[in-house]
């Protein structure tokens, strides 16, 4: 199964860096997500996850290090998390880590959003400050 790697960029739109590794089972999305065609960008990621869950059926560690995402992107993030929840419900082992910048103040809304993802999906998401990221990984 092929890996996915998308190098992020910050021009007119903000493309996140995506690194999904089928060999290690570690999938990471980082940077910022504000896209011209959000669903078109995330569709290949949904397809990759679907193949991983149905063919490889291995443990997956999902790392989210997004510092900004618009509301369209948040919908796709929820959809991915719901896929992870369905995999977990079917017996798959899922670890999800959400990283935030603990040096940044005024991030209550960001952490509220992560709490809302937890409530919407029923997943256990580990909320990890960047300062402790290396120890947690």
């Amino acid at each position: 199964m092929k890996n996915i790697y998308i190098k992020g960029s910050h021009d007119s739109y903000f493309i996140p860096t995506v690194d999904f590794n089928a060999d290690t089972g570690v999938c990471e999305i980082s940077g910022e997500s504000y896209l011209e065609e959000t669903i078109k960008f995330y569709n290949p990621l949904f397809e990759w996850l679907n193949e991983y869950f149905t063919v490889l059926k291995k443990e997956i560690t999902f790392k989210i290090k997004l510092t900004y995402f618009n509301t369209s992107s948040s919908k796709c993030i929820v959809d991915m998390l719901n896929m992870l929840k369905a995999y977990e419900n079917s017996g798959g082992k899922v670890v999800i880590n959400w990283y935030y910048d603990d040096n940044e103040e005024d991030i209550e809304e960001e952490l509220d959003e992560v709490e809302d993802f937890i409530l919407e999906t029923g997943l256990n998401i580990n909320i990890i400050p960047f300062s402790k990221a290396n120890k947690a990984d």
Binding site: Y68, T71, S74, E120
Partner: protein, 189 residues
């Protein structure tokens, strides 16, 4: 196009301490959104978090105009983009912007009810509404149905809205956002 004197919402501002920095009328395409986002980055803020709130609010509302304005034009690539108006200014230690776009009168009631609902809810209720709406089928352009809810949550204020009728077909929808560049003083300060 809309003229500034129609924006009664601005009458509430104390103009003696208001500095109007930019006005814009035209397509809300990505170049426009990028230009004004970068403009807002250049103001000084107490923290990056406060800067982020303003820019996130602006991008969300500007994207809404680009996608949903009832007044549309073709950009240079032939892509259809919504048209609207923007005012950007400073008032004391606050940054404000005002965005206006046309909406169909047939859709105005729905929009008004949505705004009234948002303004009637407390923070926890807004978060619940956001969670429920996000599970709906995506709208046009992948919309998550939560943009205006997010504005209320980010600004921690009711939506400041004005509408006025243009003709039998269309009205203007105007939203005003004001955020401080300074962190609020705490009891310990």
């Amino acid at each position: 196009m809309i003229s500034i004197d129609k924006l009664e919402i601005l009458n509430e501002l104390d103009v003696s301490n208001t500095q109007l920095l930019s006005t814009y009328e035209g397509m809300f395409d990505n170049e426009m959104i990028g230009f004004f986002s970068r403009r807002m980055v250049n103001f000084s803020y107490d923290s990056p978090g406060l800067q982020k709130k303003l820019i996130v609010s602006f991008i969300e509302l500007a994207q809404n105009v680009g996608y949903y304005s009832a007044d549309k034009q073709n950009d240079f690539n032939g892509k259809i983009v919504g048209v609207g108006a923007l005012l950007l200014g400073l008032r004391d230690s606050n940054v404000f912007f005002c965005i206006a776009n046309k909406v169909l009168n047939s859709e105005l009631n729905v929009l008004q009810r949505k705004c009234e609902l948002i303004n009637s809810l407390n923070r926890e209720q807004l978060r619940e509404l956001k969670r429920n709406n996000r599970n709906l089928i995506p709208g046009t352009n992948g919309g998550a149905h939560i943009g205006l809810i997010m504005i209320a949550l980010i600004t921690n204020k009711p939506l400041h809205i004005q509408y006025f009728k243009v003709d039998d077909t269309m009205s203007y929808f105007i939203i005003y956002v004001e955020l401080s560049k300074k962190r609020a003083a705490t009891d310990n300060e």
